[in-house]
Structures are given as C-alpha cells and as structure tokens.
Symmetry: D2
Subunit: 153 residues, 4 copies
C-alpha cells in the first residue's frame, strides 16, 4: 500500500485505535532510525541504570501488554526478565550474548502503573553467565523472579 | 488527542511506519470488539488446533517481533510458549488458570517465515497442571523447548 | 580405626542396621575396585540401555532413598534425572561433560518397587546439549519429568 | 541373613570399606530410632539454623557423595538444595509440604571440606511457596544456586 492508501485505511478507525497506531508508528520510526528493535520502543521499556553485571529496566503496564484478565501478560514479564538479565550479562562481559535458557516464577499479578525489573549476574564464567532478576510493582511487591543463563562467544 | 489530531500526526510518518501503525490499529480494534487481548492479534498468533490437553499455535517472524540480531526475540518465544502451554492446560481443565512458572530453553535462532509451537499437558493434578512445548521452524528444526506449570482454581 | 576395631563397633548394631552396613561395604568396595562412584552402587542404579543420545536407568525404591514420608526423596529423583540425562548427553557427544543446570518437576509420589528413568538429548550443540527425561514407576505412571543442559569441552 | 551371617560377611571386607559400613550402620540406627530419614544422617547433613522462612544446612564433601571426577555429585547438590528450601518453606508455613519443582544451576565444582547451603522463601502464597538457595564452599565461592516451589496443603 502507498502512504496515501495507508492513511485512508487509518482514517476509518476510531480514536482509541488510532492512539495505539500512533504509538506503533513512533516505535517503528525509532527502531528504523535509532537502530534498536521495535518492541523495546513499543513496550516503552526504559533502561534506568546499568553497571558491571547489573541492570534496571521499567515498563508501563498499559492495555497493550495486558492479558485477557487485565494484568501484565506473563509472556511480557518473561520478555522483560530476558532483557534485564541479558543486559546485566552484557554489562559484565562487554560483548553481546544469547540466552541459553530462561526460568520465570510468577508470584503476584502484574498490576499498577509500571513494573521495575532488576537484574544481576550471579556467576560469571569465561563464556557462560548466570543471572537472576526480580520484577516488582511500584509498591515494592514481588511480581516475578527469574533466572537465566547467557552464552557469550 | 482527537481523531483529527491523531490522523494529522500519523500523516507525518513514512509509508513503512504507517504499515506498522495500520497493523496496530487493526489489532487494537479486534481486541476492543472481539474481546481477546491486543498482543494476540498484533503478533498475528494463530490458534491452529486445540484438543484435550493439547494446543498448536503459529506466529509469523516479522520485524515486529525481532531482536537486534534480526531473529525472533527470546522474550517473544517465551510469550508463545506461555500461550500454547496455557491453552493446552485450559483445554485439559476446562477452566482458566494462571502460569505458576515457565522455563524456556533456546536451541537455535528463530528464523524463517513463521514458527510453530505445540503444547501438551504432561501431568494433570486436581489444581496444578504441568505442560511442555516445542517450538519449531517451518523446516521442522527445534528452536526452543519449554515446560511450565499452571494453577487452576 | 583398625579393621578389628571397626568390626567390634559393627558387632554392637542390630541385624537391620547391619544389612544396610553390608550394602555400604559392598558399594564402597565396588567404587574402589571398579572405578565408578559410591552412590551409583549404593543406590543400586542400573544402566539398562544406552544408545546415541539416549539412556535408561532404574533404581529400587528402598528405605535407603526414602524421605520421612516413606516415598522416594525428591533429591534422589533429581540425582537419577541428572545421571540419566548426563549419560544420554555423554552417549551423544562421546566425551564427558558437566551439568550446567537441572530442572525437575514432581508429578506423583515415587513409590513401588523401583523407578525407571529414560533420558534423551533434545538438541545437540557443538559444546552444549539439552536433554530431557521422564521418571515412571512400574505401572507406567509419570513420577517426575526433568530437563537439563550439559557442557562438553 | 542373621546378625551372625552379616558380621561374617562384613569381616571379609577391607578396613576402608568397613569404615563406610560403620557410617551406614550408624545412620540406619539413627533413622530407625530418631525418626528422621537415612540419607540425612548418612550424608551428615547438619541443620545449623532455622528461622521463619529461612534455613541453613551444611554437608561434608566426602568420598561418599563424590562423582567420578571427585567433586560433589550434582545430584547430591540438588538433594541439599531441595532440603534447605523445603525446610525454609516448612519454617514459613509451619506445616509440611511437598516439592513441586526444583531448578539448580551449577556454577563451580563442589570441592573442599564441606558446603554450606542457605535457603529462603522468596514469596509465600496461601498454599504455594517459592524459595531460592545458594550453595557455597568454605571460602564463600558460589557453587550452585537453585529455586523451587513447595506445596503445603
């Protein structure tokens, strides 16, 4: 579709759908021009803090990431856990890696305005790092905990 | 923002960002009118098959779900695993449940046009089901395996 | 203690304790002379079958491996899972490896005369293998399932 | 076999096998008379400290619990992790429970005179507790970390 056709199609939607569309357009543009990936921008993940072997990330709990029960989708919780531990592992090694495995335990429904995930490397090998993270809501309640291992060539 | 203002904002984007915006508008509308949740539609998850204790789901591997290395984001893989096992568990119990924990092992980069996830209940208790799933690409290569447990009141 | 002193001490025990002592002496001797390790013999683990990427092991459920509730101790279940998957991984690679991680899910109490554990490699990398196993009782009921990853230099 | 016959059989073993036999006889007697289970005594597990939701256990690294590579068998590490987390969970709930699942990550070979495992409840539900533990050697090096969930009726 041409830009014209796309805008014509978009004009048929209602206001609330168009505000989601605008978020998506903004995230797509940033992914294209700033060189990181779409979901990072679309989920409005914020990387608050990074130091050697540690990382802190927040995510707003909007309609976009909810499950049918109107709480954070457990798959999105896993997504955040992967990111915050992968980032902590990257900060420890100084080179990119891949996730070998990821284990998430869900303790409470993810509700409230936003969630805060804190990741840290627990044990660093020459190639494989082991990390853990905690996801809390703004009152400090523990929503989920996770562990993961990351392979760095 | 009013619908007018949103459309004006959208008109400033380029064609490729608007095609993402259109997908988002469509998914938002379906979530609003068909009563399931946004990411299910936005990720174009398809529920191919469901029977007692089993479920089969596919997802296209588009730019929207890729990580910086241009393969399926491991967090999205986890998302699919959660869904396909949760659905298998729901099909076994006949009532909705919540994920207690989720463990994903990543074997190969998730590439190709789409991925196929197959989930099944391994052990069914009165309240807790244990499930496993496999995620394969269209050539049948194993991308990821996962296990999870689900609590049904 | 000298052999004499040990036998004097042993003479003070009752018959049922001495039959455990005899098992331990036999396992210790085999570990010393046959070059494998003590618990393998003491737990009377039997390696029934081994082929490329696969392994089958049995263990009798005796008083020695029970927990206070008189069923197989979950830690011993984990022990068997580690062994059967490690063996499957060894059979695939043809060289020894170490366990990176082990995840066990417990489905039913481990009862009956003996348990059968079947392990197989799910995905083989150049250095890291991913395996899974099932532990069943003699009626075929699923007692536990496990997954693990193994690093081979 | 009668006590006499058992002692005759035992007399045929060498000193080093008999010292293992004596340990086994002692553990069997304690299990019989003190009402806990055999492996707890045989592995010389010591419960050092227990408070609400917390537990500290030590185990000596002897020949009895080594693998063929002369380090703590990973299955025994898992055993200790199960115990220390199960105990922490029991201390939180005040009633006994069963292990639902157990995940262990191995960071360093378990060597030295003894290992120290510290477990704590991370999240307590009405029926399901989530716990984690760390296993360290006497120098404080991290040998293994684990998480587990425990069901209390």
């Amino acid at each position: 579709m041409t830009k014209e056709e796309l805008l014509q199609k978009l004009a048929e939607f209602e206001q609330e759908d168009l505000s989601v569309a605008l978020k998506a357009a903004q995230a797509a543009k940033r992914a294209r021009t700033e060189g990181f990936y779409f979901l990072h921008y679309f989920f409005e993940e914020e990387r608050i803090e990074e130091s050697v072997g540690q990382s802190l990330v927040t995510i707003p709990v909007t309609e976009l990431v909810m499950n049918p029960a109107k709480m954070l989708h457990g798959g999105v919780t896993a997504f955040i856990c992967d990111n915050v531990m992968g980032m902590a592992s990257y900060m420890e090694k100084g080179r990119s890696g891949v996730t070998l495995d990821l284990s998430v335990r869900y303790h409470k429904p993810g509700k409230g305005a936003r969630l805060i995930a804190r990741g840290e490397v627990v044990s660093a090998g020459s190639r494989i790092n082991s990390a853990r993270c905690e996801v809390r809501d703004e009152q400090g309640s523990l929503i989920a905990t996770a562990t993961g291992s990351f392979y760095h060539r």
